[in-house]
């Protein structure tokens, strides 16, 4: 359901602003770049670890795996690394899909 709504809103906003979606809702295997990270919505150690793992504006990202149907963590490629993060954190990372 969530993806349907996202797709709709995406289409709606696409005309006005470049489409931004959270890493959490980024389709599986869709290449994207990190557009912005809502650092303030993360705890300080969380934000630091996220930076240390290479999350930064402009870096290529892609969702590789989602654990257990439902609410498990997701595994994503960031730069040349594979990193597991929880969905709540992924929700704070906004990405713009790369065409093609």
């Amino acid at each position: 359901m969530a993806t349907v709504i996202d797709n709709q809103s995406q289409r709606f906003y696409a005309a006005i602003v470049p489409p931004l979606l959270s890493l959490e809702s980024l389709p599986h295997r869709q290449r994207a770049t990190v557009a912005e990270i809502a650092w303030t919505s993360l705890s300080v150690p969380e934000a630091r670890r996220l930076r240390e793992l290479g999350f930064d504006e402009g870096v290529g990202v892609e969702v590789l795996h989602r654990a257990t149907l439902g609410k498990g963590p997701i595994a994503c490629r960031i730069g040349r690394m594979t990193v597991a993060i929880r969905r709540a954190v992924a929700g704070a990372i906004h990405v713009s899909p790369v065409a093609g």
Partner: protein, 619 residues
Amino acid sequence: MNAAPLVALVGNPNAGKSALFNALTGARQKVGNYPGVTVERHSGRLALPDGRPVELVDLPGAYSLEPSSPDERVTRDVVTGTQDGERLPDALVVVVDAANLDNHLRFTLQLIALGLPVVVALNMFDLAERDGLILDPERLARDLGVPVVPTVAVRRRGLDDLKARLGDVLAHGGVKQLRPSDGSVQDDIATLQRRARAIAVAATVSETPTRRWSHMLDAVALHPIAGPILLFALLFVMFQAVFAWSEAPIGWIEAGIAWLSTAVGGALPDGFIRSLFVDGLIAGVGAVVVFLPQILILFTFILVLEASGYMVRAAFLMDRVMAQVGLSGRAFIPLLSSFACAVPGIMATRTIDDEKDRLTTILIAPLMTCSARLPVYTLVIGALIPNTKVLPLIGLQGLVMFGLYVLGIVGAFVAALVLRRTVTKGASSGFMMEMPKYQWPRLGDVLIGLWSRALIFLKRAGTTIAMTVMLLWVLASYPVAPAEQKQSEYSIAGRIASGIEVVVKPIGFNHDIALALLPAMAAREAAVGAIATVYAIDNPDQVAGETKLADRLRGRWSLPTALAFLMWFVFAPQCISTIAVTRRETNGWKWPAFMVGYLFVLAYVAAGATYWAAIGLGL
């Protein structure tokens, strides 16, 4: 006194640092501890091409100089010369994963900025090439301003070159002066990261995208359905192997002990000394050493799962479940290790960054059925649970054993749930982990790991357990009972046990058990040694042996008593080493005292409930 220069091996986790350390130092390693913290200090010697010796120390993997766990704090303190018990290194070997430069170079830049002489080991160079990545090490060296040596630790490639460069920087470097403030090192991570990426891009000659086989494996290992099935299949095989593969080696050890006890018994004149050695030492320690094969098999699995990179996948799969009780997937790794032994398990919690999360994991780790309980379970189940088939292929004995494992896990989860809502209350911690590439574990690395575990176990059997059983033997042998009385009741130990019996009688424990509980406090498996010693003293004509011991138990214990005893062992915190490591890891007596308290209450209640339920059911 120590003239050899000190070189620290430092780098990101998963850069292949430990493999490089093993390749450089071989078996010439020492494992110690940094004072005040339980972070292990791995050091070893290596000879430079010109013959000069160097002391190499392997520092815990870190992402930056801003520590978020005790492990990473040691790394920072050593490289900044502020770690107690360690001098400032004369040079650093920074290990980076050639296939992951953009990330690993950030930490490298931080380390170079410290001002110590640095050599960069561009490790796992072959894997990067296989991934279609062509790098220019010379360009990288120019941009970083330090020597860069491509290495493949697991194939021992580039090691001579690395040692030669290390010799150069040690000869010329000598910058013992750290840059003015360590604070300046804490440059904004994002800025450093961008610089690192720029350097990585410049050093990359070409990059052909290939579908990495790690991703293909992950498609199965992390699959929402296939993944958990694979994980449970692996765990099942692991526990199955612990029992199935150990049968033969256990037989050999038992035969060896029987031979030893006959030989020693024959060589010594009848009397105090012979009884002390044969009935006390050999019977007691032998009953424990028998379990070495099972412990080693369990550790083999854990070491292989860890070295292959699968363990992090298991943590990923388990995160959802662990989150339910307020923990994160990260806690899965220490808890799985605790099935072998809670001591390394508790030490492995150091990788958990969240303090509350870590404390909870430490407090529940002793509930995982460690290998020291196996001797006790095996003995009691073998003696008192009928060997009948419940279903085809499923025996009652195996089912009871499985039940005890499950009970420990359920107990741990319930305890975590309660603890996270009471004493370790706090915001739920996150789960963020790098997933390393899969790799074949190297036999040598696994063997080095196993060797150190075996040594720890045998040292324990030779010291703690040997001392306890010998002390118990003396206490159980004197004063000598008159003909009509049992030695195990008349002796000093017997009288102490009679005192304990008053407390444990309501939960169905008999005099034998009361007697075994004291030495079991030192180490759980000592309970078996203690029972063996006591029965050996009571019946001096028989040779000590596992089968005989089981026969004797059958005559003296009722089924409800045996079940209560098993239940006690599921929960009771009987292990001096675990309590000691908890004290070290939590910096004080508060948490170990709490742990011992809640586990004893749990054990007493569970054993009592089981006993009376069994009596009520007419078992």
